[in-house]
Symmetry: C2
Subunit: 272 residues, 2 copies
Amino acid sequence: MLQREKKTKELKGESDSTSKAKPWVDQDLQDDTEIPSPNQGDDEEDDPGSELDLPHVPYAPPRYAVDSMLERSRDFYTLLNQRRSVRFISPEPVPREVIDNVIRTAGTAPSGAHTEPWTFVVVSDPDTKHAIRTIVEEEEEVNYRQRMGNKWVKDLAKIRTTWVKEYLDVAPYLLLIFKQTYGIGTGGKRKTHYYNEISVSISCGMLLAALQNVGLVTVTSTPLNCGPRLRVILQRPTNEKLLMLLPIGYPSDDATVPDLKRKPLDDIMVHI
Amino acid sequence: MLQREKKTKELKGESDSTSKAKPWVDQDLQDDTEIPSPNQGDDEEDDPGSELDLPHVPYAPPRYAVDSMLERSRDFYTLLNQRRSVRFISPEPVPREVIDNVIRTAGTAPSGAHTEPWTFVVVSDPDTKHAIRTIVEEEEEVNYRQRMGNKWVKDLAKIRTTWVKEYLDVAPYLLLIFKQTYGIGTGGKRKTHYYNEISVSISCGMLLAALQNVGLVTVTSTPLNCGPRLRVILQRPTNEKLLMLLPIGYPSDDATVPDLKRKPLDDIMVHI
C-alpha cells in the first residue's frame, strides 16, 4: 500500500509542477525536460547501485602532430561531405555486426547527466517493416493533404518527397530511434532525463557519421504523428517517444539525390 | 507601405496560429518548429533565386567490401568510444584550419527541408571569452542555488560540476552553436526552419565526431538561461537562439574525467 501511495504522490506532484512556471528550464530550448519541482526532489530515491561520489581518473587521449591533424580533418570532411539523404535503398543484406558497431558508436554520445536516454529499435522482420510502412504512409498522406497546407508541400516539392515510402519495405533494416523522456530507477522512482531530445539527436549525428564511414545510406525522417502507433506495435514502454526513423542499407543501383548545394563556410561560421 | 502592411499581416497571422491547435506539428517532438497555418502559406513568397524543381542526379558513393566494412566500423567505434566530455583544457593554440574543417564537417548534417539552420560562432578573442565566462558563471550560480533545488545538484554531484568554468577563459576557442529558429528570405519574408533544434543537434553530433577524430576535446554544455545575454554580446540576430556552448582545445596535462561507464549494446538496442 505504501508503494502505491508514494507513486500517487509522485505523479500528482509532477502534474502540479508542470502547470507552474519552471524557471529552471531554459525557455529558449524546446527540449522540454521533465524536471521535478525543487521540493519534490527530496522524495526521489537514489539508485542504491550507483556511486554518489565517482572517482576521477586521468584522461589522456591520443594526440596527433599538426600535419596529421590537418590531414585527418580534411579527410573526415571529405568523407562526410559525400553523405546525402538517400530514399532509394537496395534490398541487399548488410552484415549484422556492422549495424551493431554503428549503434555502439551512437551510444558513445554525451547526454544530460550521463543518462544515455536512447533506445535503438532495429527492425529486419518483413512483416513488422510492412506494418511500419502502412502506418507511416497513412499518416503522411493525411499530413500532406490536410495538415500542412500549401507551405510544406511547396517546400518539399523541391525534393520531390511524397507519402509513398517504398524503402520502408525494401531496406534490410529500419532503425527507429526512441528518446526516453524519463527513466525508471530502482523502486519504480522516476529518473530525470535532462535534455533527452537534444541528447538523442546528438547521438543520431554520430550514427549518421558511422553509417557514412562504412558506405551505408539512410534518410533521417521524423514521421509526423506516427509516434504513438509505432510505439505500440514495437512494444516500447510509455516513457519512450519516437524521435527518428532511419531506413538503412546500400544505395540502390539507380539511386538519385536532389542536386542541392551546401552553404560555404563563411555562410555558417562567424569568427570573433 | 504595401511591404509594411504585408509584414504586419504575416506577424499577426503567425501569432494567431500559435494560439490555435496545431495538428500538423508532432505533439511528441519538443522541437517547436514555427510552421505557419495552412491559409497563411499562400502569402509566403518563394525565394526567386531558388529552383522550384531541382534536378535529380545519380548518387553512387564509395562501397567497401564486407571485411573492410567490419574493420572500419570497429575502428570508428573504438575512436568514438574514447571520446569523453572534458572540462580541463590546455591554453595551447590549435591550428585554425583544423577548426574550419571541423565546422565544415558539422555543416554537412541533414536538416529539415535542407534549411541548414545553424550558425557556428567561434570565439578566440580573450576579452569576449571573458565576457562569456562572466555571464555563464553568473547564470549558473543562480541556477545551482535557486532554481534547480536538490535534485539537479545531487545528480551532478556525481560528476562534480560546479559553476566555475575556468575553461571558458583558458580554451583557445569557444564555439557557440546557434539555431536559426526561422530564416529570412528575399523581400524579408520568413522562411520556415523545420525541426531546427533537432537539425542543429544532429550537426553537433557530427562536430563532436570530427573533434574526436583530430584529438581535440570539449564539453557539450547547454548553459541555462544565458542565451539572450550571449546572443546580444555576440551580436547575433533575433532569429537565432543559443543551443550549445563548446570550449575546444587539447586536454590539459592533468585532465581528468569521472569514471563513468557506458551501457552495453543490449541495454540500448532492441532487434525485431
